[in-house]
Symmetry: none
Subunit: 198 residues, 4 copies
Amino acid sequence: MARTKGSVGSETASLIRATAIRLMVEHGYEAMTLRQLAEAVGIQAGSVYRYFGAKDRLLADIMIGHMETVLNALQARLAGVEGPLQRLETFVDFHIRYHIEKQAEVFLATMELRSLSDEARMRVLALRQAYETLVSTILSEGMASGIFAVRDAKVSSFAIIGMLTSVCQWYRPGGRLGPDAIIAIHRDLVLQAVRKLD
Amino acid sequence: MARTKGSVGSETASLIRATAIRLMVEHGYEAMTLRQLAEAVGIQAGSVYRYFGAKDRLLADIMIGHMETVLNALQARLAGVEGPLQRLETFVDFHIRYHIEKQAEVFLATMELRSLSDEARMRVLALRQAYETLVSTILSEGMASGIFAVRDAKVSSFAIIGMLTSVCQWYRPGGRLGPDAIIAIHRDLVLQAVRKLD
Amino acid sequence: MARTKGSVGSETASLIRATAIRLMVEHGYEAMTLRQLAEAVGIQAGSVYRYFGAKDRLLADIMIGHMETVLNALQARLAGVEGPLQRLETFVDFHIRYHIEKQAEVFLATMELRSLSDEARMRVLALRQAYETLVSTILSEGMASGIFAVRDAKVSSFAIIGMLTSVCQWYRPGGRLGPDAIIAIHRDLVLQAVRKLD
Amino acid sequence: MARTKGSVGSETASLIRATAIRLMVEHGYEAMTLRQLAEAVGIQAGSVYRYFGAKDRLLADIMIGHMETVLNALQARLAGVEGPLQRLETFVDFHIRYHIEKQAEVFLATMELRSLSDEARMRVLALRQAYETLVSTILSEGMASGIFAVRDAKVSSFAIIGMLTSVCQWYRPGGRLGPDAIIAIHRDLVLQAVRKLD
DNA sequence: AATGAATGAGTGTTCATTCAT
DNA sequence: CATGAATGAACACTCATTCAT
């Protein structure tokens, strides 16, 4: 779904995408109008159709693109990291950092699932599930090697992801705590929560 | 064309409320139309206005009512419970159980903050903050008595609430795990996460 | 059309009538709602139908009643007044004084003709024409006796009525000029305008 | 579903304006619906909004435009006319001729003041006052030079304007009297009404 | 490649009116 | 008799979308 061409048209497309993300986060997908979007971009509403066939294609484009990117990025970060403990630590660091950096996309991805067409929602949910499986696999491996102890790997991975994702609902750049401090707090909570006590 | 046989105002009002919650969860506040709502209730669209002056008053009514109820219920449950450990355990039990029982209202309350009028949003956020303060106070007291050890009571309470609330995004009645099992899993995760290690 | 009975119901009817006149002048017939009217009277909207079958009957009632009253009153005032000059003077005095006293009804009668049903409009126009004929007859008689000289009695009577009626568009009680002063000004204008010069 | 063949924006806008004037005169501003208007123009109701942001902007547009035009036209006609007598005669001729030609706009301007927004009403009233001042100034100058004698210049100018304006409530093209005859009748009435008798 | 003009289905909302209670 | 509950048709207005220019 990612835009690739280097033409001028592609720059307009990127601008539409970026502006759409901003406006959808501000007002919600349903409440954002194409006229608003077009005006913010500096074109006419009708011209958006040169780049995106319909309003819901624009949303699908953004959300699927985001999920693909985040999944690939996590896989890349975990590549070569050995041991469940290190892998879990890496995940926490990655997840929070990514959610802080791409707060808008993440916010959209959690809020606007409902607005997707059935087909697009399926694809997004599949990508989300793949992401969750990466986490629950880390927990399972940790339990197998006797480092972690949780009652249920799947539910625990949901719980951990839910905990970490909630950061983007209150985080504001320039707040009391910077990214590193926030990551440290959550790393400790997560690692303690799952670690097997001697 | 007039009062339908056997109709009673207060019953209609409750029916509108309950139906509205269901439809807003299904389609989102913006996407739910008053005609949809009215048809589901079995009345005319205009008749909704006898009970709720406007669509956004309906949402405000539901959300403020929900937040007041949940806050009062938590305070009642915590009354008389001594000790940070027991209080935290009680909170986890209460929060998940409530979020499972009132899944729809909770889902609404997290998703539709944006759709509220400024005034209503202020009130809901104030109630939400009061709820969060109850939790962070438990953490602070636990730290004071040397039972808990977290880097930051406030952020940790956000994290815990975020973790527990995410349950209502995947829980379905009759699924693999019942309420008690889900509560047990999360209780262990939370208590271990905050407990001071010797 | 006038209300006559002395029962309690009739008092409510009068109250509805009087309140309706006030509200219609304030907001216009179309813009006044029956709920507004009912609330101002202190009853429910549905109860208005006990007294007036429909909103447009209420308007018809008021306007026809007003026109009948004003026509009768003018005839009464002119009865026994001899000579075109005195009769014209009497008319000017009566017309302005009445329009100042019953400013609201007069205002309604000029503004809301359009809102009447065809049938009611016919009746009002017939009454208005009878009123105008009284005036043009005075002019004709004055011309016959060589006291007045106008090019056209009918158009002149329209012109005179138009001139005098415009008073109720700017008159406010307690303004710079009282009724008597206003009447004097217009009497001079009218009498000079039609009088034959030697 | 898109631009209809040969359509031009400015033509559509003029057509909307002209049709709106006609329909508002026929039914009144409140009673005219945008669907009626659109159908009469031959477009969809929503398309009116390309040209006029709201129904009351349409009315404001028409009324302010009319008042500005009539004020400018009177000033142009009076320019270079010397002497209160000639100036008053010129005014009568101009006012009636204009009110006969633009009967619809004038009728609107007198009837629909109430329907304007506060801001638009202020502007219209200011223009109307400027118009009235032109007339009362003529009367005052005539009194100063001993040609006119009225008790009150301001009230008399209201009376004269009221008299002349009432023409557009009964005038129909092709009636018994043509414009010139009607003007002659009113010129005589006005001039005699204000002239000083020797 | 983009605009400007238009559509048509839909939205929240209002309101005169009716009638069971 | 009056109210409270409901209707149903209408209204102003919005918006994604289309397509001639």
